[in-house]
């Protein structure tokens, strides 16, 4: 069976004053129906850019799709007409964005914005509700995110809410739609762990009930461990490793994944690791070959010239690193 979402060899860049930023460099990602997949990687590696490409909301220019395909139920999103994409976004895809202040409109109250979304998704499915019913729905959605005092929140402007409350408004928006695919870009970073837990349980339910697929982007590896079955590790615009979440945690294979796993601060309190030496490459002039090679302690000559493909390692794990070339 073909997957729900299938991103193939996606390359995306940004044209800026100084030149061309080659950010996504052949991204490969699949997501099955009802599957929960995690995506983690260094700040700036292109996670949000990937999500925005899937939703076709990248600002163009400066963004440019340099190549690749994004199949949703077998149809290439990149080739769809504007209208088609809009319907898809209303009916099937939904996203929770990282920066809630950016996705919320500062000049409208939370209530106005939420009601619009509910109306939209209802309109798309042809159902009709009274104004009162719509408001009740919105309040219900806010409650589900553990939002205190939803009635007050409805009449507030985004600026009057704490960081975590804004984020929950965005989550409520996502929960009020009928989407089949939820792209969650750091949905819980601003929330305390009890609320985070509550929301993760809610997402669990959603997946069970509606068989929704979830792509979970987060810096919290604990959340990934808790929620996802399969995990992608991304570095500088490429997927460097993919595998079952638990296995990947137990034995990361790619040198970048290994460094990342080592950096997780632990409750056991043995201090915070210094992270991976060096920094993410300059996308104006990214390193040739494996983009991680300047920071890798195992660099071989081939790493400097050839881009490593995803090698198939034991039991269905994939690693883009020449150390695993068979």
């Amino acid at each position: 069976m073909s997957p729900l979402l299938d991103v193939r060899d996606l390359s995306v860049g940004f044209k800026i004053f100084e030149g061309y930023l080659s950010v996504l460099n052949g991204v490969e990602l699949t997501l099955g129906e009802g599957e929960r997949v995690g995506l983690v990687g260094e700040t700036g590696c292109g996670k949000t850019t990937t999500v925005k490409s899937i939703l076709r909301v990248l600002p163009m220019p400066p963004a440019r799709i340099a190549g690749g395909e994004i199949f949703y139920r077998g149809k290439d999103i990149l080739k769809m007409k504007r209208r088609e994409v809009q319907t898809l976004r209303r009916m099937e895809l939904t996203a929770i964005f990282q920066d809630p202040l950016m996705s919320l409109n500062p000049v409208f109250t939370v209530g106005t914005q939420l009601r619009d979304i509910v109306k939209d998704s209802l309109g798309a499915s042809g159902k009709k509700l009274t104004k009162k019913q719509i408001t009740a729905r919105c309040i219900e959605a806010l409650k589900e995110t553990g939002m205190p005092d939803p009635e007050r929140i409805m009449s507030n402007y985004p600026i009057q809410l704490s960081g975590g409350m804004r984020q929950r408004v965005c989550i409520a928006e996502a929960l009020s739609t009928t989407a089949q695919l939820l792209l969650a870009d750091e949905p819980t970073t601003n929330l305390d762990v009890t609320i985070q837990d509550q929301i993760l349980r809610k997402l669990d339910e959603l997946v069970e009930e509606k068989n929704t697929s979830v792509l979970m982007i987060t810096h919290s590896l604990g959340v990934v461990m808790d929620l996802t079955q399969r995990l992608y590790i991304m570095y500088a615009g490429t997927m460097v490793e993919e595998g079952q979440t638990e296995e990947l945690f137990a034995s990361p294979l790619h040198p970048y994944s290994q460094g990342l796993m080592k950096s997780v601060p632990k409750l056991t309190g043995e201090g915070v690791s210094d992270g991976i030496p060096g920094r993410i490459p300059n996308y104006l002039d990214p390193p040739a070959g494996c983009r991680f090679h300047p920071r890798c302690e195992h660099t071989m000559p081939i790493c400097q010239t050839e881009k490593p493909p995803l090698f198939n390692v034991e039991n269905g794990r994939h690693v883009a690193c020449f150390l695993y070339r068979s």
Partner: protein, 346 residues
């Protein structure tokens, strides 16, 4: 005697809104010792940012007092002296939006130098270079870059350099690394710890990441609905958590290994409606979600009691009447809202 740099005493910050008064910070007291890192953790919307904003002066307190180096600083920001503004600085969570995208890093860093007259004009360049070097960004490479051209971690490094430009002694860190991945976070945290040593800085560190807190803070304070629940030295805090909300928090930490799982209390699922800061539950404000709620909890608000060296908690399970009474006496009428004050005390 230890050297206390900051005292927050019965601080209140209320926001009047159309739907009633939000008690964002409601009568909290704590003090901070020079050179330490005190961690402030708590529910989203519990008033952590508001507390920091009162300390830095963005909001004048509704009531209560903030003492910095022995002087009251409860006055409005505009009335604060230049020296005071230089001495307390803040780093925000979102490095992206706190740096002006239209300015180069050199320009961004020169603002505090100009505003606070830290260095004479001709020394600005040297100072900017040394600030960048301090946060381990090669000055010549970074000075002329714009925020959008650098990574999230690097932006946060610039924000830290900007905060440190005025040689502060107290730095408020409001979720400085929650937008960053763990390896970049590691770099920043280690840098912050090193700078703390070198410059004898004191940190008020706000984060939701308790695993991170475990590794950086010397003491941890927990907030819930505008009030403090528990304060304890870090090791004690994780080994011997007492307040039911603390236990709920600790049990919900997502972890990645079995060893860590073993350190967490058994899971206490978050339950009950999350109450509103406009309409705070009576008695102990946590009672609506508490798994150990007793009858008295809905009526009487517990007071802070000391249950160990530097370990205080505010819960009826630990209200040793004797200790409680003595604290109540010390705190006097201030400890309660005038409205809640029972007529004819006893």
């Amino acid at each position: 005697m230890t050297d206390t740099i900051l005292v927050v005493d019965k601080l209140k910050k209320y926001f009047p809104t159309k739907r009633g008064t939000v008690k964002a910070v409601d009568n909290i007291s704590f003090s901070v010792t020079t050179g330490e890192t005190i961690g402030l953790v708590g529910e989203s919307g519990s008033g952590k940012t508001t507390t920091a904003q009162c300390v830095i002066g963005i909001y004048p307190p509704t009531d209560g007092e903030i003492l910095f180096k022995g002087q009251t600083i409860s006055e409005a920001f505009s009335k604060r002296s230049k020296a005071l503004k230089r001495d307390i600085r803040i780093v925000f969570q979102d490095p992206g939006s706190s740096l002006n995208p239209k300015r180069s890093i050199k320009q961004i860093l020169s603002v505090p130098l100009k505003v606070h007259r830290v260095a004479t004009k001709k020394d600005h360049l040297t100072k900017i270079k040394s600030l960048l070097a301090m946060v381990e960004l090669p000055p010549d490479e970074y000075m002329y870059k714009y925020p959008q051209a650098i990574g999230g971690g690097e932006k946060q490094m610039v924000a830290i350099a900007r905060a440190l430009a005025t040689d502060p002694s107290l730095v408020l860190l409001d979720e400085p690394t929650s937008a960053l991945d763990v390896s970049v976070q590691g770099k920043i945290i280690n840098l912050l710890m090193k700078l703390q040593q070198d410059l004898n800085l004191t940190y008020l560190f706000i984060t939701h990441d308790l695993s991170l807190m475990r590794n950086v803070a010397s003491r941890v304070a927990i907030m819930y609905l505008g009030k403090l629940c528990e304060i304890a030295p870090t090791v004690e805090f994780f080994q011997n958590p007492t307040h039911p909300y603390t236990k709920m928090l600790l049990s919900a930490i997502p972890v990645v290994s079995q060893e860590e799982k073993a350190l967490k209390p058994t899971k206490i699922a978050s339950r009950g409606e999350i109450p509103s800061p406009v309409n705070v539950p009576s008695g102990c404000s946590f009672h609506s979600r508490c798994s150990e709620k007793m009858d008295m909890c809905a009526q009487d608000d517990p007071v802070m009691v000391e249950i160990g060296e530097g370990h205080v908690t505010r819960c009826h399970l630990y209200q040793d009447t004797k200790v409680a009474a003595s604290i109540e006496q010390e705190e006097g009428v201030h400890a309660q809202d005038p409205v809640d004050q029972p007529r004819g005390d006893g």
